[in-house]
Symmetry: C2
Subunit: 210 residues, 2 copies
DNA sequence: AGCGATTATGGAAGTGACTACCATATGACG
DNA sequence: CGTCATATGGTAGTCACTTCCATAATCGCT
């Protein structure tokens, strides 16, 4: 690795950090990209080479946490899918718990600014889509695992990825809302017990006469 | 209802329709709001009184379908939650199936334009949040339904809403991707069978040693 | 019908995110 | 040291979106 990439990563982090400072101080709407660029001592056009939109500056940390866990998952093909997904959930929550203030601020900014919440939702969706893709390849690979009666593999994969995403979202949301002190991974465990135990009201397959 | 509200609804629809035309013709990025306003024969400032962003013009139909079903759900407090949620799923899919081209175009535009997919994700999220709120009040009301051992009501509600949203999303996605002809409600039924039958690899509650 | 109050509309002016482009500088490599 | 690839900064421009005000359409009441 050359000196070039080191500098690149440094600049990248510097920009995101300065941006986050300004956002927490003056708020998202009252901060211009010029101000961020000036604070990071780069030109605005340089800033846009690192981050495509102002919103992505807010989401840097969350995005990183999610995709790190996904990368880990891809490198663990020997694990069973349930164990692998469990590892994904744990890794994401570990990242979040390592920096509670940042996560909290992200959610606050998302709550105040529609475009931020939109981009947050988008990042999580893209993550889920990549997880779906990975699950699809794995399910097709060892389809001996389960007969998968009738249902197509991508369909099953999408459902699994969606539920995993849900568990993470619900857990993080609850963890952020609570006055700190709660254990995120304990919450996630509860969520999964509920899922397996059937304690959740699901839509029924049989249509009722309406 | 006065003449005023009739006109308002007419203008609202007119704007969305003209916008959709232009988007399908020239694409989202190559259409300016001025062009849309001109096509609908209103001033740009009027357009912004009806739609807060250009992206929401794309999502008008999807948004309407989702929230109509939610309104219906709110008006059916006598139904059990599973039946009610089933009704929600059915109603959303009915709406989508009533206008396949429009849904397909929305997904195409979302696939091409990041900001559209971001707003699409956001709309669906807001919908899920409102569904969560409704489920929370209902679960607290008749908590005699189930003991809900230990788990908090909003937690359970959020999971239920999330899964319902997942079923809809996965179903619509699969239905849109397929070369037409597939029955969306049949797909949804499969999804729910998979969910109930445990045919989906979920993260395990017990952490494995990593 | 007529009249005051309320609300919808159109236009003008401005802010700021984002893009395209080019000249320059800086690290990579023989 | 020379060259080459890449990173940077600045400029100019487009366009989404906001704010504000003057005007016009509708409503409610008598």
């Amino acid at each position: 690795m050359g000196l070039r990439e080191v500098k690149r990563e440094r600049t990248r982090q510097l920009i995101a950090d300065k941006a986050f400072e300004l956002f927490t101080d003056r708020g998202f709407g009252r901060t211009t990209v010029e101000q961020i660029a000036a604070a990071a001592e780069v030109g605005p056009s340089t800033l846009y080479r690192y981050y495509p939109t102002k919103e992505r500056l807010v989401l840097e940390f969350v995005e990183g946490s999610l995709f790190e866990a996904l990368d880990w998952f891809r490198e663990q093909p020997q694990l069973s899918l349930p164990d692998g997904l469990q590892g994904v959930v744990e890794r994401v929550l570990d990242q979040m718990e390592s920096n509670p203030d940042r996560v909290r601020t992200v959610y606050e900014l998302a709550g105040q600014t529609p475009s931020v919440s939109a981009h947050l939702a988008d990042v999580i969706w893209r993550w889920r889509d990549e997880l779906t893709a990975e699950l699809t390849t794995r399910l097709t690979a060892d389809s001996s695992d389960q007969p998968l009666a009738g249902a197509s593999v991508p369909f099953t994969a999408a459902l699994a990825a969606g539920i995993t995403m849900n568990v993470i979202e619900v857990t993080v949301q609850t963890w952020v809302d609570n006055p700190a002190g709660t254990d995120a991974k304990e919450l996630a465990r509860e969520a999964m017990c509920l899922l397996r135990g059937g304690g959740i009201p699901l839509p029924t397959a049989d249509p009722t006469q309406l």
